[in-house]
């Protein structure tokens, strides 16, 4: 594949932000917010449900349409129903070539209806070249590969395809790709293999990030992930997002694995929100780091009505848990 390379556009001149280096499932990769995915990124999105998938794919699609970038989406779903399309008129963007929604039959299947990685490669080559010629500053590609994970399926074709994608996207200054995989449908060892063919893992944009506290949605289980330090200066913004989560019935779990500091006012805030939950429900604090848990143990869980300790620290291991 010969995707355009050359001078990066000014909008992407800044060094790419990587907010967390991590080891997941035996593989090293950078984790990036979807808004930080850049040309040259061959990223994967292991998701645990439609809500999590759309939380990432919607801004990826909408971000392209809002910023003079082309989006190529291989799917059999109608364009109007794709994540991120709610604010856009598909016909108008299809007419300019900025939005290309291609069915599998017209982009990556052979005559017998089987997956044809070479055909997908040629399709993407063509779409990227046309996008570049049409003056779009970047070309985004995404598709959901989960359908290739049917029971007993041979992954050779997919792995080879991912490898080709990686070699083509990484040196490009125009192309970027997000490969979606439903982790619940993928055995852990296959997930490791798939992950290893990507150098970037993409996740949803944070709800808040000021460099000290980061608040993000979490999906397996559903709730919020809080990382960094939660203190007085950040109570209001946290209360706003927690209140919205609970009011929208979008989960009651708080992933505290990356929480370095929680002040006593924060405990008060959590209790106030927990007590507003319907009877019998609790806010569940997962993955509490030892030093934070020690403070909570000291004051006593019995003084924190509505809060309960959840999953123990270290129980989380990426795909294996979600798949089991």
């Amino acid at each position: 594949m010969h995707w355009a390379s050359g001078n990066g556009s000014a909008a992407y001149a800044e060094p790419t932000r990587t907010h967390r280096d991590g080891q997941g499932m035996g593989t090293w990769y950078d984790t990036r917010y979807v808004d930080d995915v850049r040309p040259g990124d061959h990223a994967w999105l292991p998701y645990s449900g439609a809500e999590e998938r759309d939380h990432v794919v919607a801004p990826f699609v909408a971000g392209a349409l809002a910023t003079n970038e082309k989006i190529v989406y291989v799917t059999d779903a109608p364009a109007a129903r794709l994540p991120g399309m709610s604010a856009f008129d598909p016909a108008a963007f299809a007419a300019t070539g900025q939005l290309r929604v291609l069915t599998r039959a017209e982009s990556c299947l052979d005559a017998a209806g089987g997956f044809d990685p070479d055909r997908l490669g040629r399709t993407i080559d063509r779409e990227v070249a046309r996008g570049f010629e049409a003056g779009f500053r970047a070309v985004r590609f995404t598709t959901d590969f989960t359908w290739l994970l049917a029971a007993g399926a041979d992954l050779t074709g997919l792995l080879g395809c991912e490898d080709r994608l990686a070699h083509a996207v990484s040196p490009s200054t125009v192309a970027m790709a997000v490969c979606q995989i439903d982790r619940r449908r993928c055995p852990p060892d296959r997930l490791v293999e798939l992950g290893a063919t990507h150098e970037v893992r993409v996740e949803g944009n944070p709800l808040f990030d000021d460099g000290t506290l980061r608040i993000a949605r979490s999906f397996a289980p559903r709730g919020l992930r809080i990382e960094g330090e939660l203190d007085r200066a950040r109570h209001a913004v946290f209360a706003e997002h927690l209140g919205r989560l609970l009011a929208g019935r979008r989960g009651v779990h708080l992933d505290c694995g990356g929480l370095g500091f929680l002040d006593l006012g924060g405990l008060n805030l959590l209790v106030r929100h927990a007590l507003a939950l319907p009877r019998g429900e609790a806010l569940i604090l997962d993955d509490l780091p030892a030093n934070v848990e020690n403070v909570i143990d000291m004051v006593g869980w019995n003084r924190l009505p509505g809060l309960v300790p959840g999953r123990a620290r270290g129980a989380r291991d990426g795909g294996a848990t979600a798949w089991a």
Binding site: E229, A233, L262, G265, M298, L304
Partner: protein, 305 residues
């Protein structure tokens, strides 16, 4: 339900065993939750004395139970809750050796606080004091902190007993508040307390506190500073210094706060109760000293490594 809080003045082991043994036997007879928290050298003999009631009495070693007065009060509260609706009948013998003057003062305050914290619990506590070995100033305070004193066959109300708020206030009068000239200082100027946490954490780690103790001190200092930002008057700041094994962190502002004497000593029922913050601060560090006046409000936190 009231509280029966009596001191037992005794002379020597046999005196101790006779009085506490009778108390605990009676506790079992009336169907109460019988608990003995006694000093290590009394523990074995008392178990032996009550061998026939071994399964009906909970025994604890005072050396383990009495390490930190605020935490000990919390542990007793948990005990009362655990055995409810049974009423606790406890032989409660604090440890009086190995303390410096400041710690001794806190344990004396603790004895007085029992009268507030367990008022209405229905509990009965007998606190043994060994007249043959304890220092005079410990024995002198017994009649101020216990409403009833048992001395041999003689049991009578203490005419020197002070209500806990007055006792606590009197205990703090003699405190000194010197601060070394070389204490490090960080002004607290913005709403964001991250620099303060870093300031305290760095020094706590350098003083070789355990990670948990360091985090507890940081959490306590952060809470006091947050409170100063919410209610105090600038300028505000934090001083940190060390003295032997101890690291001291003091947060001050120029507000004029006169804390009621029992502030933060009575355990709150939940994090939503007033006083939860200061009580937690007292729990998280070894010792908290408050002083308020026209010169400002100062909260001093002490932790030993």
């Amino acid at each position: 339900m009231g509280l029966t809080h009596r001191a037992l003045l005794y002379d020597g082991r046999s005196d101790f065993l006779a009085a506490t043994g009778a108390f605990l036997r009676q506790a079992v007879e009336v169907g109460g939750a019988a608990v003995a928290v006694v000093r290590p050298d009394n523990l074995g003999p008392l178990r032996e004395e009550l061998a026939d009631h071994r399964d009906e009495i909970e025994f604890y070693d005072s050396a383990e139970f009495y390490r930190h007065p605020v935490r000990t009060l919390k542990a007793y509260l948990e005990l009362v809750d655990r055995v409810s609706p049974l009423r606790v009948h406890a032989v409660a013998e604090p440890v009086w050796d190995g303390h410096d003057a400041r710690q001794r003062l806190e344990w004396q305050r603790y004895e007085s606080l029992i009268n507030v914290v367990f008022a209405g619990s229905g509990a009965s506590s007998l606190c043994p004091y060994d007249r043959s070995t304890l220092p005079g100033d410990v024995l002198d305070q017994v009649r101020l902190t216990h409403p009833v004193v048992v001395d041999g066959a003689d049991e009578r109300p203490s005419d020197a007993y002070l209500d806990p708020a007055s006792y606590s206030a009197a205990q703090d009068l003699g405190r000194r508040h010197d601060r070394p000239a070389d204490a490090e200082y960080l002004p607290i100027e913005a709403d964001d307390l991250q620099p303060l946490r870093l300031f305290v954490a760095t020094r706590a780690n350098a003083h070789e506190l355990t990670p948990a103790a360091a985090q507890n001190l940081v959490t306590a200092a952060n809470e006091v500073a947050a409170n100063a930002l919410a209610h105090g008057t600038p300028p505000m700041g934090a001083w940190v210094w060390t003295s032997g094994d101890e690291i001291v962190c003091e947060i001050g502002d120029h507000g004029h706060w006169r804390p009621p004497p029992l502030t933060g000593f009575v355990p709150p029922r939940s994090a939503l109760d007033t006083g939860f913050g200061l009580w937690s601060v007292r729990l998280l560090v070894d010792l908290v000293e408050l002083r308020g006046g026209w010169g400002g409000t100062f909260v001093r936190l002490r932790v030993r490594r």
